[in-house]
Subunit: 105 residues, 2 copies
Amino acid sequence: MKKVNVFESNSFDAKSMKRLLVHDSPYFKVLNFNFKAGQELPVHSHDIEGEVSLTVLEGEGEFLGKDGISIPARTGDVLICPISEPHGVKAKSDLRILVTIAPPI
Amino acid sequence: MKKVNVFESNSFDAKSMKRLLVHDSPYFKVLNFNFKAGQELPVHSHDIEGEVSLTVLEGEGEFLGKDGISIPARTGDVLICPISEPHGVKAKSDLRILVTIAPPI
């Protein structure tokens, strides 16, 4: 049993998205990405099996997809997506996202 | 790509914890458990491989473990635990938890 408070353990960085590895195991990888307003994780994909969940812990922004798709993102939103499908994030306000990848990459 | 807002899609129930299945796939199962203040998910375990993450989206309470262990739980806390290790939750305030189980059970 291991506990991490991602609000305390991760900060924001004026230069770029701030990444915290919360957990990595044979079962899943858990990360926290913090974005200052305006920062972006560009659309990308990995040509492998598996899925990723992106959970908005705090803030507002957009989930990005292929062909310029944009889906509003706000606290309580959970986005699920194959890792092989293009996905990204853009922050409108300061934004805290929890990322879970299974199986881990 | 699929999005669910668990704050909107799940409610609270005065009688017991309210459960929402967010996603189920060969990779992971994602659930949202909402507890009214005082409600509890009793300590339990499953004798199988895998891990569970419990993320506090909102509220305050305790993570419970074996031998009466209690760990404070509040917004931004991520608890990671083998599924085979006893774990539970008790709410002090109304409490929203996101649960991810990999591999799914």
